[in-house]
């Protein structure tokens, strides 16, 4: 990752009430890196979806865990990686919901990962040293 110029790391606990911290953090990041409000709002959504999945379903115990968010920007690409030490879960394997179904047939839930995939340009997963690493990339408008 040495080619990346701007880098930042945010550590969070696996608690839902940490999510509002991400909102504040992203506002500051947007200001510092000159990112548009629309992009920050999209990133907010992407991170909430990813983090709430990890926090609610990612762990087999009730202990405190650390989730690491890493942000970097190189040229016109933004990379966000999310690392957690929960059980194996690869969200990229999840099948997309059928969004053309009528209301009576639409299942409740299951939209979070889909929104992440639709908003970001690239979503990749790795399992390394018993950790889940989700890498999200987005091209930045010049």
């Amino acid at each position: 990752m040495s080619e990346y110029r701007d880098e930042r790391t945010l550590l969070l606990n696996n608690q839902l009430d940490e999510i509002p911290l991400v909102v504040t953090y992203l506002d500051q990041l947007g200001e510092d890196w000159g990112l548009s409000e629309a992009l920050i709002s999209s990133l907010n959504l992407v991170l909430e979806e990813a983090l709430s999945n990890i926090i609610l379903y990612g762990y087999d115990d009730k202990l405190l865990h650390t989730i690491t968010l890493y942000f970097s920007r190189s040229g016109n690409e933004l990379l966000i990686s999310i690392t957690d030490d929960g059980h194996y879960y690869d969200p990229t394997e999840k099948e997309d919901p059928d969004i053309t179904l009528p209301v009576e047939d639409r299942p409740i839930g299951g939209l979070g990962i889909f929104l992440i995939k639709r908003i970001m340009d690239k979503v990749e997963y790795q399992r390394k040293e018993n950790k889940n690493i989700l890498m999200l990339k987005k091209k930045l408008e010049p």
């Binding site: 999510i19 909102v23 629309a38 907010n44 639409r106 889909f114």
Partner: protein, 109 residues
């Protein structure tokens, strides 16, 4: 998130403001399901002050829509901000909800 409930003609008007996310979606779910249990079957959600929604908020809207459809009720949403409209489009929600440009259109339509 702030919620204001009032009655307008034969609609229950719910004005939802702020962020609808994982931390508070259950509050909206509880409030609206309480209204339905109390006999409201025509619900009109004014979204002009709603500027953020995540999948947990979408989930609640779908629950309400299904519940009202089951009792021959109606759910109408008005004045979605562009960012919210985009999430509705991505999710296929634009075609399963009755969306109106403004409150007047929603009450007439």
């Amino acid at each position: 998130m702030n919620l204001q409930v009032s009655t307008f003609e034969n609609y229950t008007l719910v004005r939802v403001e702020g962020r609808l996310d994982t931390t508070n979606a259950h509050e909206l779910e509880k409030s609206i399901l309480n209204l339905i249990d109390g006999g409201c079957s025509r619900i009109f959600l004014d979204c002009s002050g709603l500027y953020y929604i995540s999948s947990s908020g979408l989930r609640v809207l779908l629950i309400v829509q299904k519940k009202l459809a089951g009792i021959n009720g109606q759910l109408r949403l008005s004045h979605l901000q562009p960012g919210i409209r985009e999430i509705f489009d991505i999710s296929g929600f634009s075609s399963i909800f009755s969306l109106y440009a403004d409150n007047e259109a929603a009450l007439k339509g």
